[in-house]
Structures are given as structure tokens and as C-alpha cells.
Symmetry: C2
Subunit: 338 residues, 2 copies
């Protein structure tokens, strides 16, 4: 049985999820199930997975059967349990509550494609449409406060199956990181009367030393205090707090930019494992002037070690300015080809 | 040039350390320099490293020359720079300051031993004596606010050389994690009139379901909200906020317990990579009633993935109760041998 726990000292939630230990890659650091066997995510193998919760046609229509292009299923080894909360929250010295929630897998394509950047722009748009629609769907569930969308690609990034896929974990608690961002961005708004993310975009465009890419709709840059080498954020230029309210047209623009950047990382950084994730405002609100949804891309080119775990702070060996230069121009600032 | 950075949104410091990118394992996720070449940490190869800052004889005496048992050197690829601060802190929209600090390597033995648990109790006591002495030494440096001691063992834990060693990074900023623990433990003290760590020890002993080991001096348990499978903390029973004030006798007791636990992890968990680290109070104080130094051991048996990076919260697939049972009795609670 899954459980959320918080110790008296920490501000972090932990999800204790013993069921998940039965996953294929149990304790196999870096072992990715290779494609030698039968892939449960390929079209035609639907019976190998739990029944789908949604499937999309090539035009983005929800379909019950027929040739799907994107398929959403419950995770077979969920971190949280999709049931009614079975006991009240305990707020003793040790704080805990039942690990209720939803854990879905978004299968990003019907064929056995393993590199995200090999998907077409249209296909990636469909994937983002599925993200948005599942988030909008779970928003209506009174048990849930937040949905975290994320992708693990490559064994170093925590993936256990190679067929392109991403995940959604929706929980009754707002994740610590989001809670922190909400508090700090609200503080900033109160002090300065504007969104801190909008201000960040303005500054990164005014002095584009960390700029990676820009269109009319989106801006991508390596953030000033990047925790990881080549960490890149994509933000919509137009202020919006909730990803689930994004229109189709913008999702296409996001897909095009994301694929471009991931393609460059693959090419320039020797095909690294990577994670991307969407940060958005919690379900309990409809419009926040101080929060701004965005996508964070984290290539896994370095290891996290004792200092980081102990300090909670990161050592990044590549300046964001250099990283942005490489991702923008395909070479080091000194002209060396990477 | 190293730099501490904080973005307007985050409460985390990042150390931007471009010099460190020249280290042997640059971007080699999981590549550990094997012992085929000449090991710079072995006794007799002192000329391969920067000049030592301290060396200890078998009896724990500081020596200038002769056969050392533990040797401390500046890190050849430091994350921070041991110089005078060369520019004032910037507290603009983007906050930054010069990355001043100290980065040392503690070589834990003269011979080419790679497994920490193969060191003798006496040798590990010497290592902890070196930790304490270096911390006490840097405490006197007005530039510095905190020293983080940590060990990376195995490639998965971020080690780049296999000869047993650990590290010290001292900085002018208090790490985020420590700052959080200080704030929360002070809150607890104010509300309840006692140290939250002392209370934790009392509870873990009263209902020993997460207890791993206990002696008259120390208690080891898997914390209630463990972030990682088999995460184990060692705390001194007697309240003390600053590790650097620990007497020799206690260091021996700590060494014995640590070696025992790491030996069991090695045996029971298939020789995992691991980190351990010391959490202690900052230099700017001498005695805090609310803070309690401790050692955290983090075996690296699972990968951190998109959910964790996005949420800031961890999914742990092994309950702390089960982990403690395995580490205490050498088998699963249901009687299966591991």
C-alpha cells in the first residue's frame, strides 16, 4: 500500500511505494529492457498492458478502437493507488496519509520508436495534446491537487522501457518544488507587481547570452542558476499559469521547439539520457497572475553525488552561457566544434 | 572562475564550476578510472597530487613526512576557489557571488583499498578524526560558513577514482538543506521545548521497527520518510550540534557502527555504490540546543528520474520498516533470505 510521508524535519514529501519494486528494472541501475523481447507498448500488443484510459487518432480525436497514434494506460506498477482514500491523514510526530493518486503512461507512438526526436512534429503535438487532455480530465477529480507530467528517456534518466513514452502522476498533495515556486513567485508579485517568469523572459531576450531559441509563441533559454549542464527551459511568452488551458495551436509551436532542442542535444551531447517535465499551477486555481507554466529539459550528462544529496545544492560544471551557446550555434564559444 | 548563483525563483544555491569539467570522468556517466594505471592516491605517489594540507600517522598524530595513514590534499579540480573573495555579492534580479571556498580530498588509506568496509575500525576512526580536525581547522577561516563532508563510493554514486577517499567542501554559504533543517528544528524546539532529533531517537528506540543498530553512544535507523531505499542515519545519543567538537572516543564508536552497516549493505544489497555525508551545524555558532549532528548513508540502488527532479519529492520502493529489518536481521520480514 502506497503512502505519503513527511518527517518532522523535512519539507519534502516521500511516496513510499512498495508495489513499484516489482517493476522490470528492480534495482537494476541503468538496465533498460532491450527490444529483443515483445514490446508491450507497440500497436497490436494492447492486450499486454492494462486497458487504456484514452487513445487518440492521427487527427487528435479520442477513439475507442482502431489505429491509435497516442495511447494512455494506467501504469502497471503505479507509485500511487487509484482508489478512495482509506484512512484519514495522520498529523502526529510522523506525518502520513494514504498514497492515493493516479499514475498513467502516455505511449507516444504506435511503432517501436525509441528516440523522441525521431517522432514528427505532428506526433509530438499529439503527445502534448494528450498531456493537456489528461491533466484537464484529472483536474475534475476531487481527490487530486496536482498532476506532474514527466518523461524519462534512456536508462541514465530512469527509463525502464525503451519504446517512447512519458508519465503522469497526479496526487492529493502539491509537490514540494511546485509549492516553493508558488510561494516565491507570489512573493515576487507582491513586491514588484509582475510575474517573475515574465520578467525572466524579458531579461533573457534583452541580453540573449543564455538564449537557445525563440519564436513568436515561445522562448527557450538555459536558466541563470541551471542545476544541470545544458538544462533548458521553454516558456510561453504569453502569460499563463495552467498548462491544461493551452490551445491546440500553441501545443504545435511547443512541440516544434522541443523537438528541435532535443534533436540538438542528441546530436551535440552524444545522445544523452534526459528528462523533461512540465511545471504548472495546481488544480485548485483557475488563473494565477504570479505563476507561469513551463517545460524543463534536463539532459543527464553528469552524476549527482554526495555533495548534492547532502547540501541540497548542485555543482554544475558547464556555465549556462556556454551551454546556451552550444545549443544555439552548435559549437563552443571559442569556435571549437563540439 | 567558480560562482554561487541563485535564481529569483529557487531557494537553492548552484555552484557554477567550469574548471571541474576537466576532471577525468568528464561527462562519462558511470565511468570510473580503473586501477590499471598509476593511482595518484597510493602512498609513494604523493608527487602526483597537489601538496598535502594534512597527514596523519597510525596513532593519529599530524605528521609532515614519513608513512601517513590518512592524507588530506586540495582537490585538483575544485568546485570552489581557495582565494580571497574578488567581487562583492550581487543581489540583483539574478543573485550571485564569487565561488570562494575550500575543496579537499581525504585519502582514507595508504594502500590501494577500494572497499571502505575493508578498512579496519581503527583506520576508519582515523578518517573520522581527519574529518573532525579539518572541519575544526576551516571553522577558523572568516570566509567560510559551513563544511560539507561527503563520500562518493562507486561510479553510480559519482566517484571518479576508486582508491578509498572522501571530500570536504567548505563554502561561505550554508547549504539549502542544512538551512532548512536549522529553520525547522528551531521551530520544533520553540514549540516543544526539545530537540527534534532527540525526540526522533526516543521514538525509534521505543518502537524499534526502523532500528538498524544501537550502542551506548549511537543509534542507527532507517528514517520514517526515507527518500531512498535502505537510507540509514546514524545519530549520537548524546545531544551535540557540531560534529567538529566530537571527542576521539566517540569517533571510534561511530567508525565501528558505520563499518558494520556499510559491510551489511555491501553483502545484502549486492555491493551498491553509496554516499555518506555528515550534517552538522554551521561554523557561526558553538552550541545549538535544537540541532543535532548526524551521518546519513545513501546506498544507490535506484535511479532518480523525471518525477523526482520535477516534484522535488522522492518515490521510495522499499518501506523503511522493511529496509531496517533487512539491515538488522539480514533477511526480508517474511523470512526470505536476501
Amino acid at each position: 500500500m502506497s503512502e505519503f510521508r513527511k518527517d518532522p524535519l523535512s519539507d519534502h514529501w516521500v511516496i513510499i511505494a512498495p508495489n513499484r519494486a516489482e517493476r522490470p528494472e528492480q534495482f537494476g541501475l541503468g538496465s533498460l529492457e532491450r527490444s529483443t523481447g515483445r514490446c508491450p507498448f507497440c500497436r497490436g500488443h494492447e492486450a499486454d498492458t492494462p486497458a487504456q484510459t484514452a487513445a487518440y487518432s492521427a487527427t487528435g480525436r479520442l477513439i475507442d478502437q482502431g489505429p491509435w497514434q497516442v495511447r494512455v494506460i494506467p501504469n502497471k506498477f503505479p507509485a500511487v493507488e487509484n482508489v478512495r482514500e482509506q484512512r484519514p491523514e495522520q498529523r502526529d510526530f510522523f506525518r502520513s496519509r494514504h498514497g492515493v493518486g493516479v499514475h498513467e503512461v502516455i505511449i507516444e507512438c504506435p511503432d517501436h520508436v525509441t528516440a523522441f526526436s525521431h517522432l514528427s512534429d505532428q506526433q509530438i503535438s499529439l503527445v502534448f495534446q494528450a498531456y493537456r487532455d489528461r491533466m484537464a480530465y484529472w483536474r475534475g477529480d476531487p481527490r487530486l491537487a496536482y498532476a506532474q507530467i514527466f518523461k524519462n528517456s534512456g536508462a541514465s534518466a530512469g527509463a525502464s522501457l525503451e519504446h517512447a513514452h512519458s508519465q503522469l502522476i497526479a496526487t492529493p498533495v502539491v509537490p514540494t518544488q511546485i509549492e516553493n515556486e508558488l510561494v516565491r513567485s507570489a512573493d515576487y508579485f507582491q513586491q514588484h507587481g509582475r510575474c517573475v517568469f515574465c520578467e525572466m523572459i524579458r531579461r533573457e531576450l534583452a541580453d540573449p547570452i543564455r538564449l537557445v531559441e525563440q519564436t513568436e509563441q515561445f522562448v527557450a533559454f538555459c536558466p541563470f542558476a541551471s542545476q544541470f549542464p545544458y538544462e533548458t527551459w521553454i516558456l510561453p511568452r504569453q502569460h499563463g499559469s495552467h498548462f491544461e488551458f493551452t490551445e491546440d495551436g500553441r501545443l504545435v509551436g511547443l512541440a516544434v521547439m522541443l523537438r528541435k532542442i532535443l534533436g540538438r542535444m542528441e546530436h551535440l551531447l552524444n545522445d544523452p539520457g534526459f528528462n523533461y517535465l512540465i511545471h504548472t499551477a495546481p488544480f485548485g486555481s483557475t488563473h494565477l497572475s504570479h505563476y507561469h507554466w513551463h517545460v524543463e529539459i534536463l539532459p543527464r550528462v553528469s552524476n549527482t553525488a554526495g555533495f548534492e544529496w547532502g547540501a541540497g545544492d548542485y555543482i554544475n560544471m558547464v556555465t549556462p552561457e556556454q551551454a546556451a551557446h552550444v545549443l544555439r550555434f552548435g559549437r563552443e564559444p571559442d569556435g571549437r566544434q563540439t
